[in-house]
Amino acid sequence: MAKKQLYWKGEDELLRTKEFLASQKNEFNEALPLDEVFSENNLGLNANRRDFLKFFGFSVAAVSLAACNSTSVRNVVPYLVKPEEITPGVANYYNSTCGACSTGCGITIKTREGRPIKVDGNALSPVSGGGLCTTGQASILGLYDTERLDGPKKVSNGSTSNIDWATLDTEVSTQLNAIQTAGGKIAIVSGTVHSPSTLAVINDFKTKYTNTTHITYDAMSYSGILIANRDAFGKQVIPSYSFAKSNVVVSFGADFLGTWISPVEFTKAWADRRKVDGISADSKVLKTIIFESNLSLTGTNADYRFPMKSSQEAVYVTSLYNAIAKLAGQPAIQIAQSGELAGDAIKQTATALWKEKGNSMVISGSNDPKIQLVINGINMLLGNYGTTIDLDNHSNQYKGLDTDMVSFTNDLKNGAYAAVLFYNSNPVYSSPASADIIAGLKKTKLSVSFAGTADETAKLCQYIAPDNHYLESWNDAEPKAGLFQLTQPTISPVFTTRQAQESLLTWAGLAAKTADPFANKGIYNQKLSASVYYLYIKSKWAAMGVSGDEAFNKALHDGVHMAPAKAAVVPAMAVSLNAIVSDLQSTIGNSTGIDLVLYQSVSVKDGSLSNNPWIQETPDPMSKVTWDNYVSLPKALAEKEGIKNGDLVNISYDKVSLNGMPVFVQPGQSNGTVGLAVGYGRMGKAGEKGLFESIGKNAYPFLKVQNGTYNTVVNGVKITKIDGNYELAQTQTHHSIEGRDLVRETTLEDIKKNPKAGNDKATPHLYTLWETKAYKKDGAPNHHWAMAIDLNSCTGCSACVVSCSIENNVPVVGRAEVRRRREMHWMRIDRYFTFENRKMVDYTDDLFLSRDYEGKNVTKEKGLEALDNREAQAKGEFTHWENVKVVHQPMMCQHCGQAPCETVCPVLATTHSSEGLNQMTYNRCIGTKYCANNCPYKVRRFNWFRYNDNDKFDFHFNNDLGKMVINPDVTVRTRGVMEKCSMCVQSIQGAKTKAKREKRKLTDGEVKTACQRACPAGAIVFGDVNDPNSEVHKLFKNERSYRILEELNTQTAVKYMVKVRDIENAKA
C-alpha cells in the first residue's frame, strides 16, 4: 500500500502546537525586523546619516535606471461581456465547410480568443475524410487579407467610393424594380452553387424578379462530363467515382490526386486502396495507369505513366474502346485514325481493364463532351456503371456548363441583359471571352459584384456588395447528392461586409420578414447568430427533415448530415458512338503541331485565391517552382529550339499570345506538348502594387471552344525564344537522386513474396561517442515521440507543407528569397526523378561514366548528361526525359537520437528533450549556423532577415490584420536565429497538460502534428514509440520501415516506409 509521505519544516509543524497554528494564519508568521529600520522618533527612521544617504542614493539610481527603459505601452482589452465559450488560451473547434473552391470539403476550424487560426479536414465529412488540400489550408488567410474590401462600394468611371448598405440596397432595388417593370433581363453569374439554401435564395430572387437567369460558370469546368452524361444517360451530373471498389483506374489526363473534381476525397480513397501491409498473394491494390501530356501529381504516383499528345486523345481513347470492344466481342467504333503508344500501352491497358471489368474505372480530364462519351462507352463495355461509377449518388461539385456561359457572353455582348450580378465568379479574368464580357458590361443598366476583393470583374461593375469570407458566413452545402454540410461563422465579420445571400434576400424584399430572435440578448449573440440567412437556412433544413434545435445543432456540431444513399441504377447509353465519329475527328490535332495543355497547379488551382502568399510559396510538387507559372517544355523541344531553363519565350496561338514567359524544361513532359498553368496573372488593386501583381501571366485566353465547351488543349501553338533571362524560384534545384539509398521502393510482386522486399539492405553505421539515450522518467519509460511516414501513401500533394507553415508561424519569404534558396518551410517534399533509359543505350564503353548507370534507370547527374549528349548527337527524342519515375519524400527534422546539430552548438541552444525531441531554444540561439551545416537532412532554417514587421516582406506578417492568423502557442522568431520542425511540441504539451488535468494517461492518437492532420492520404503517423500499443510503435516494427541515412547512426525518430509500385518486375 502506498503511504503518503509527510514532510515538516520543524518540530512545531510536526506537533502542530497552538502557537504554531496561530502563527500560520498570518502572512508572515514571524515578526518582521521592521523596527531595525523604522522608529517612532528620529524622523521615523532608525537609520543614521550614512545609511540615509545610501538608501537615498540607491533609490535615486534605481528610479533613474528604471525610467531609462522605454517599454512601449501595449493594451490588453478585456471583454466587456465575456462570451461563455471563450477562455483565453484555450482553443475552440467548429465544424464547417471549406469555401476555397466548390469541392466543399468538410473542415474543422480552430479558433483562439475568437479568431480562426487553422483549418483542418473534418473526418466526418466523406469529401475531406479528415485531410485538406493546400488551397483549403491556406484559404484561412483570405479572412485576414488586407486586399479585402472594407464595405460596400460604388464604382463610377473606374473610381471606387464608399457607400453604406442602406443606400446600396435602395439604389440596387430601385434599379432592379425598374428593370423588372421594363421587362429587362437579369443574370446571376455564379460559380457552382450546391448549397440548397443558396439555390433557394436564388429561386426566391427569381420569383421576385421573374426575368432572371442563373448562369453557373466554372473557370475550369467539367462541362464535358456533364454534357456527355446528359446526352448518354439523360443525367447532367458528374458521377461518384468509387476508388474503393476499383482494382484498376485508367486516367486520360485527369489529375485526380491533384486537382480533378475532388482531389482530397480521391487521394484518401486512392491511398486506402494502395495499402500493402499484410497483403495476401491474391489480393490487389488499385493499379493506376495514366496517359497524359503534362506531368501531373497523379502521373508521378501512377504505376504506369504513358506520355501522350493530348490533341490525339480521341485517337487513343477510341483505340482503347476498340481494343476492349474486341475483347468484349462488341462492334468497334468506325474511325479512320487509330493509334498505339510505346510499349503497346493501349493494348496492355485494355487487357488490364478487361481482367477487372466491373471493378475498374476509366476517366478523362478532357472537357470535350465527345471524348467523354467514348469514355462513357468504355465504362459501359466494362460494366463499371453501378459498381465503381455511380450516376445516382452523384457529385454536385462542378455544375457549370460552358455552353451556357458561351451563349450568355454573346447575349451580354449584344446588350441582351439589363442587369448582371456576379457571385463567386470572376469571368473578366478567367473567361477567354473576357473582352466580350467587358464590352457587354458597359451595355447593362446595373451590374453588381459580390466579390470580397476588388477583382477584375468587380472593378468593372457599378456596385460591389462584398460577401463575407466563408469563415464569417452561414451557409450549407450539398457537395454530393445526399451529403449535406453546414458552414458556420467563427468570427464576426471583420469588415462591414454582408453575405451575398442576405443581399439577394434584401433586394428580393424577403429579408425584413424574418424577425431577430436574439434581439436585446447581448451584443455577441446578436452579431453572430441573428443573421437573416441563418434563419433562412434553419427553415430550409427543417423542411429537409432536420427540424428542431436539437437536430440542427447536432448537424451543426458534426458539420455533416447524410441522407440515405440511393440505389445505383445501371444506365443504358442513348448515344451511338459511331454517330460522333466526325466530331471526334475534329478534335484530333495535327500530329506535328505543338500542343499547349493548360492545367491547374496543385495549390493555385483556378486562381481565385492566387493572392494568397502561402499558396504562392508552396512549391509545385513536380517542378518545385514557386511564385510563377511557366511554360513547361519537353527536353526534345527545348534542345531543338535551343531553349534552356532561365530563358524566356513567346507563346502564341491564333490571336492569343503571351510574351516573355519563363520556361522550365520539365522531365515527364510529353514530346510535342507544352504545359502552362492557369490561375496566374491576376491584377491587383488599382494603383497599388499588391500581391496579385506580377505573379505569372494569365493563360485563360488560350482556352478554346471545341464541341461547345472550353477546351484546355490547343494544338499548333508557336513558341519562339526571345532575349532575356528569368530565374524561376525553385525550392529544389537538383532533381536526380544520384543512386543514393534515400527512397526505397519495391514492386507489389516482390512484397507479396517477402514483406521486407526492397528494405533488406544491411546498414553498417558509424560508432558514436555518446551514450544511447533511454527516454526514461523515474525509471519507467517516458514518452518517445516518433513519426512514421508511408512513402507508399504519400502523393506529394504538399498539403502538409502549408499546414505546417500555418501551425508554426513559418514566415513567407517571397520569390526573391526563394531564388536565394532561403525558403523557410519546416517541412518540404523532396522530389526525385529517375530517368528511364528505355532505349537501353549502352554506356559500358564510357570509362568514367560507366559507374553512373544502373541499367534502365539513370539517377545520376553525370549519367544523365552522357545520355543527353548521345541523344543530342543523334538528334533524338530524349525519351528518357519523357519517361520518368518520380518519388516524393516528405522531409523535416528527423529528431535524431544522436543529433549532429546538438553537439556543435556552442551555447546549447539546440538540445535533446527527455521525450526524444530535438528542441530549439530560440532565445538562446546566437545564429552560428553550425547546426544547419552539420545537419545531414538540411532541414534547419535560418532567419536571414526579420520577417515579421518588415515591409520588405509584405505578405501577412507585417500588418495587424495578417498577424491575426498567427498561432499564439508558437513563438514568432526573430532575425538571426535558427528554426526547424518541433514535431508540433505545442500540441504535445497541450495534450499532455489536458491529460494531466484529467488525471489520465495520454492516449495514442491524441497528439496529432499539423502535417499529419493535413495529410489526405494518411501517410503520416505520429505518436509515442515507447508505448507498445501505439500505431507508430507498430509501424516502427513494420518490415517496410527504414531510417534515412541510417549509416550515420543519427538514430532518427522518423522512419519511412518502403514505396510499392504495382508494376511488373523487370525481366532478367
Binding site: 556543435v904 546566437i926 532567419n943 532577415f945
Partner: protein
C-alpha cells in the same frame, strides 16, 4: 658567447655599425611620412571604410545581405576567417619556434611577422563574430560567464567553443609576446625622442626600460617562456580551427587528416603573406641590408616545403575517400574536382601544389619580384583551399534535394576587401610608429658589433 660560424654568410649585410642600425630603423618613425606611405595609408583607410560600411549593412539588415542559403550556411565568412587565422601563423612560427631552434635569421623579420599575426587575427576575428545571427548576445554568450539563468552554460562539446578559447588565447599570447619584444626598441626611440609628445608616449610604453643587465636578463627569460607558450599554439590554433570541420558529419569535412594539413597550410599561407609584405617593405623602407635575399630564400624554402605538404594532403584525401567506401565521401571529392566548383579546386591545386615547386630553382628563390608574384599566388591558392573545403562540401551533401549553388553578394566581397583595409591600415600605422625590425636583436647579430 658568439656562435656564429666564420664562413657562414652574414645575416645583415652592408657592414652596419650599431649606430647605423639605430638610425636606419628609427628613421621612418622620426621623419615625416613619405609619399608612398601616405598613398598606401589613404588607400588602406578607404578599404577600412568599406569594412565599416559592410559591417554596418550586415548589422542593420541581417546576415541575409550575404549570399548564404539553406544548405551553404558558411561561405566567404568562414573562408575568410580560416584564411586570416592561417596567415597569422607565420608570425608565431618565426618568433617562437625559430627562436627555440636558434634560427638567427628570424631576427630581422620576426617583429613584422608578429605584427602581421596580430593584425591577421584581428581581421579573422571579425568573421566568426559577425557571422553570428545575433552578435549582440552571441558576442558574450560564447564565454562561460556566470549568469542569472541558473545552469545555462556553454557547450564544451562544440568545436566553435574550442575556437573561442583557441583564438582568444592565441591573440593574447601573440600580443604580449610582440609587445614584450618591442619594449627595448621603444626605449631606444624614447631615448632619441626630440618632441615632448613622443617623449611622453614612448616613455609610457617602454615601461621604464633601463637597459641594465638585469632587465636584459629578465627580458631574455620571459621571451623564452613566451616562446615556449607560443610554440604549442602554432599547432593548436589551426588544429582546433580544423576541428570545426573535422568533427562534423559533412562529407569532405569529416576527415582526421585535417589538423596536420591545416597547420601546414597555415604556415604555408603565413609565409606567403610575410613574403608579400617584406618584399615590398624592404624595398620601400630601404631595408635590403636587414631583410636580405638570404631571408627571402629561407622563407621560400619553407613555402615550398609546406606547399608540398598540403599538396600531399589533398591527394591523400582523395585516396582516403576512395578507400573508405563511403559513397557520400567519394562523391564529395569527385564533386570538388569535377563538379560545378571545379575551377576553385583546380585554382587551389595549381596555386598551392604546383606553383611553389618553382622554388626548387635558386633563381626563383632569390629574385624578389618573382617571389612577390609567387607569394600572391600562394595567398590566392590558400584562400581557394578554404573556399573549396567549406563551400564545395556544403553545397552538395547527403540529400540531393538540398543541393544548391552559392555565390557571394557585394556585402561579402566588401567585407573581405575591407579586412585588407583593416590589415594594411594597422600595418602602415605600425611601420610609422614602431620599429619594424627588432633593433636590439639585430644588433646582436652584427659582424662588427664588438
Amino acid at each position: 658567447m658568439i656562435h656564429d660560424s666564420v664562413i657562414r654568410p652574414q645575416l645583415v649585410t652592408g657592414d652596419k655599425t650599431l649606430h647605423d642600425v639605430t638610425t636606419e630603423i628609427c628613421r621612418p618613425i622620426e621623419n615625416k611620412p613619405s609619399t608612398s606611405w601616405k598613398v598606401g595609408f589613404v588607400l588602406s583607410v578607404i578599404f577600412l571604410g568599406i569594412l565599416g560600411l559592410t559591417l554596418g549593412i550586415t548589422l542593420a539588415f541581417g546576415i541575409g545581405t550575404w549570399g548564404l542559403n539553406k544548405s551553404v550556411q558558411w561561405g566567404w565568412d568562414i573562408t575568410n576567417f580560416v584564411f586570416w587565422v592561417g596567415i597569422g601563423h607565420a608570425g608565431t612560427l618565426i618568433s617562437a619556434i625559430l627562436l627555440l631552434f636558434r634560427q638567427k635569421w628570424r631576427m630581422s623579420i620576426n617583429r613584422s611577422a608578429e605584427a602581421m599575426t596580430i593584425f591577421a587575427v584581428m581581421c579573422a576575428a571579425i568573421f566568426p563574430l559577425f557571422h553570428m545571427g545575433r552578435i549582440w548576445v552571441g558576442g558574450y554568450w560564447v564565454f562561460p560567464l556566470p549568469n542569472a539563468f541558473g545552469s545555462l552554460w556553454v557547450n564544451f562539446h562544440s568545436p566553435l567553443l574550442w575556437d573561442v578559447f583557441a583564438i582568444s588565447t592565441y591573440f593574447s599570447v601573440s600580443l604580449v609576446f610582440w609587445y614584450l619584444g618591442l619594449i627595448p626598441d621603444i626605449a631606444t626611440v624614447r631615448d632619441r625622442a626630440t618632441t615632448a609628445g613622443r617623449k611622453f608616449w614612448y616613455n609610457f610604453f617602454s615601461m621604464g626600460w633601463t637597459g641594465s643587465v638585469r632587465t636584459w636578463n629578465r627580458y631574455e627569460v620571459v621571451s623564452l617562456i613566451l616562446a615556449g607558450i607560443s610554440t604549442p599554439l602554432v599547432l593548436s590554433v589551426h588544429t582546433i580551427v580544423s576541428m570545426d570541420f573535422a568533427t562534423s558529419v559533412v562529407p569532405g569535412w569529416h576527415t582526421t587528416i585535417f589538423p596536420p594539413y591545416f597547420v601546414a597550410g597555415a604556415i604555408f599561407s603565413g609565409f606567403g603573406m610575410v613574403l608579400t609584405l617584406l618584399v615590398i617593405a624592404r624595398k620601400v623602407m630601404n631595408y635590403q641590408d636587414y631583410i636580405t635575399i638570404g631571408h627571402l630564400e629561407a622563407m621560400c624554402k619553407v613555402v615550398m616545403l609546406t606547399g608540398t605538404m598540403v599538396g600531399l594532403a589533398y591527394i591523400t584525401e582523395f585516396f582516403v575517400a576512395a578507400y573508405s567506401g563511403v559513397e557520400y565521401e567519394q562523391y564529395a571529392f569527385i564533386n570538388r574536382a569535377t563538379g560545378p566548383y571545379w575551377w576553385a579546386y583546380w585554382s587551389m591545386m595549381t596555386c598551392n601544389l604546383i606553383a611553389p615547386q618553382v622554388f626548387w630553382f635558386k633563381w626563383a628563390r632569390t629574385t624578389p619580384w618573382f617571389i612577390f608574384m609567387l607569394s600572391i599566388v600562394v595567398n590566392v591558392g590558400m584562400w581557394f583551399e578554404r573556399f573549396v573545403i567549406i563551400v564545395t562540401s556544403l553545397h552538395r551533401e547527403y540529400l540531393p534535394s538540398g543541393w544548391v549553388m552559392y555565390s557571394p553578394t557585394m556585402v561579402e566581397i566588401g567585407l573581405f576587401l575591407g579586412t585588407f583595409g583593416l590589415f594594411f591600415t594597422c600595418f602602415f600605422l605600425f611601420s610609422k610608429f614602431l620599429p619594424v625590425i627588432n633593433m636590439a636583436e639585430v644588433k646582436g647579430i652584427l659582424k662588427n658589433r664588438e
